[in-house]
């Protein structure tokens, strides 16, 4: 009895960690900004070089910031859903056009529709780095105060939206 007790205790202690390890996806990194103010930025807009999209524009309402590019396959995949969200009009979507080129990006929006209130043009990827972006598409949920509430990496879908975003937005609306 006694000789099996110690290994048994060891297994019981380690088991939760092993199970957690199996469930966590190491390719998904947590955002460092959860609960903190979104990193400040000031970018020229995609459509008009003389106008700017800055962090200050995002405060005052709950908003989404979507990091996208024309070279990004996942962005194409989620675009239909973003269009749907934009048509519902419950939450403004701001874009950060990341490491792209302007004519391609404008053409892309003309072809597939433009769900964004405005897109900042982050040509050299500096703002992307400041935001801790590691792969487009990424979608940030920001509070009225401009704090990052949630970050999702990968193409957004209706089921993920219902599960992760809707409850958080409802919480913020209170």
């Amino acid at each position: 009895m006694n000789r099996y007790l110690l290994p048994l205790v060891a297994v019981i202690v380690f088991l939760p960690f092993l199970v957690l390890g199996l469930r966590s996806d190491p390719s998904k990194l947590p955002s460092q900004y959860i609960g903190k103010a979104a990193p400040e930025f000031d970018l020229p807009t995609l459509r008009d070089n003389t106008r700017n999209l800055a962090s200050a524009d995002l405060t005052g309402q709950v908003s989404l910031v979507n990091v996208w590019a024309t070279w990004c396959v996942g962005c194409r995949a989620e675009h239909g859903f973003l269009m749907q969200l934009a048509q519902q009009g419950d939450i403004p979507i701001y874009g950060i056009n990341w490491r792209d080129n302007r004519p391609d990006a404008i053409q892309w929006l003309a072809q597939y529709g433009d769900p964004y209130v405005a897109s900042g043009f982050d040509e050299d990827g500096r703002v992307g780095i400041d935001w801790g972006v590691y792969g487009a598409p990424e979608t940030f949920l920001l509070s009225q105060e401009g704090e990052v509430v949630y970050r999702f990496t990968g193409p957004l879908s209706a089921s993920h939206w219902e599960r992760e975003f809707v409850p958080r937005i409802a919480e913020l609306g209170k």
Partner: protein
């Protein structure tokens, strides 16, 4: 025939140097260049996680190398550069995470396990020594 094989093999051996990611030096000063290469060898590429940004040609790796060059030119210290990266990407981005509250377990766990193993060995040996010799 043999000559061809030799040429092919030599070419294959040279390929990695030819395909180096950063062609050309980032810094004129050899000491700075060495420091730059040391830093980028210890930063994880966040999209291609088992590579460092020195070996990766991913967009994000190229961007991070550029940011590190910029920070170095601004005269930032190694710690300040590490802070810049950790603020944005977390401790995970450094191949040698700093010993802070959150990463302390990573640093002490090997020693703890060694200690546990040591105690186990001592326990087993003591137990065996207490057994009568003629049992075997």
């Amino acid at each position: 025939m043999i000559r061809r094989i030799v040429i092919c093999l030599t070419a294959a051996c040279l390929a990695p140097t030819v395909m180096a990611i950063d062609t050309g030096k980032a810094f004129e000063d050899p000491a700075q260049q060495e420091r730059y290469e040391r830093i980028i060898a210890e930063v994880r590429c966040v999209t291609c996680q088992n590579q460092n940004i020195k070996d990766s040609n991913a967009f994000i790796a190229a961007d991070l190398r550029r940011e590190i060059r910029r920070l170095m030119m601004e005269g930032k210290s190694d710690t300040e550069i590490a802070d810049f990266l950790v603020t944005r990407y977390g401790d995970f981005v450094l191949y040698r995470p700093r010993a802070t509250g959150k990463t302390l377990i990573l640093w002490i766990a090997p020693f703890l396990l060694l200690l546990v193993g040591g105690f186990a060995i001592v326990g087993v040996v003591r137990h065996r020594m207490a057994l009568p010799l003629d049992e075997q």
